[in-house]
């Protein structure tokens, strides 16, 4: 790495770093553009606000969406494993929403063609709540839900 580039890296803001990452071939320009963050959806304080922010309207209930390796009871709300699998053709995105968290939307995953419509992650839950798995498939929205009981909340302090 030459001195100029190091100086840019040290002083640079996010835009500069992104540009460098693009230049270095780590990220394609279209990926950099895709790095938006849906503030209005993540700011939503209830299911309706989050769904509105996502543009999901009133999603249809679907039995083609399953929770996998997701507990009925979480002893520790700070680390709750959640897996969602969609059998809906052309699944484009999977979102996890936790009704009783301060902000309902936890995560959105964009599923590229060729990627299995199944993701596993770990979330925080403030208290016992319904958890919704929202799926966008072929341009339409579908949902399934599951109650997870929390023994010890994960947002206290």
């Amino acid at each position: 790495m030459d001195d100029t580039r190091r100086a840019v890296l040290i002083s640079g803001g996010r835009a500069t770093l992104l540009a460098l990452a693009v230049a270095a071939g780590w990220i394609k320009p279209e990926d950099a553009r895709a790095e938006g963050w849906n503030k209005s959806a993540f700011d939503g304080r209830n299911l309706d606000e989050a769904l509105k922010g996502l543009g999901a309207g009133e999603p249809a209930q679907s039995k083609e969406i399953a929770f996998v390796q997701t507990p009925e009871i979480a002893e520790n709300g700070a680390v709750v494993p959640i897996g969602v699998a969609s059998a809906l053709p052309k699944t484009e995105a999977i979102a996890i929403l936790i009704e009783k968290n301060p902000n309902t939307l936890a995560a959105v995953f964009d599923i590229a063609p060729g990627t299995e419509a199944a993701i596993s992650t770990r979330v925080k839950m403030a208290q016992t709540s319904n958890v919704y798995a929202l799926v966008k498939a072929d341009g339409r929205y579908y949902v399934a839900s599951k109650e997870i009981k929390v023994t010890l909340g994960g947002c206290g302090g």
């Binding site: 803001g13 996010r14 770093l17 990452a21 071939g25 780590w26 990220i27 394609k28 990926d31 895709a34 790095e35 938006g36 963050w37 849906n38 993540f42 700070a78 680390v79 709750v80 494993p81 936790i98 968290n101 301060p102 902000n103 939307l105 936890a106 995560a107 959105v108 995953f109 964009d110 599923i111 590229a112 060729g114 990627t115 299995e116 199944a118 993701i119 596993s120 992650t121 770990r122 979330v123 925080k124 839950m125 403030a126 994960g154 947002c155 206290g156 302090g157």
Partner: protein, 99 residues
């Protein structure tokens, strides 16, 4: 970041463990001051330069985030690159070879 890519049939299973506080912005410190939110907002996973998964996260993703998924294809020796950006603009890129 700990990244593991392993072949399962004709797919590659990716498992990632990232180091990040994922501070919610809901907690208060000993002086009663709110601890500002600090969390990963964007994640992308590329295989041979092609994006296989991208994600937007809120602060409800657990501390030291875990992510697992599979994509079709992949061969021993292929490169998987994972990149994240947090709400302060900090970012990290790491890669692993499919084994």
């Amino acid at each position: 970041m700990k990244i593991r890519g392993s072949l399962v049939g004709d797919s590659t299973e990716v498992k990632v463990l990232m180091n990040h506080e994922m501070e919610t912005g809901q907690r208060k410190d000993a002086q009663g001051q709110t601890i500002p939110a600090w969390f990963i907002q964007n994640v992308s996973v590329t295989w041979n330069g092609k994006t296989v998964l991208s994600a937007q996260w809120g602060p409800a993703v657990a501390k030291n985030p875990f992510l697992s998924f599979k994509f079709k294809g992949g061969a021993k020796g292929d490169r998987i690159v994972i990149h994240w950006v947090d709400n302060r603009g900090d970012q990290r890129t790491d890669e692993a070879i499919i084994g």
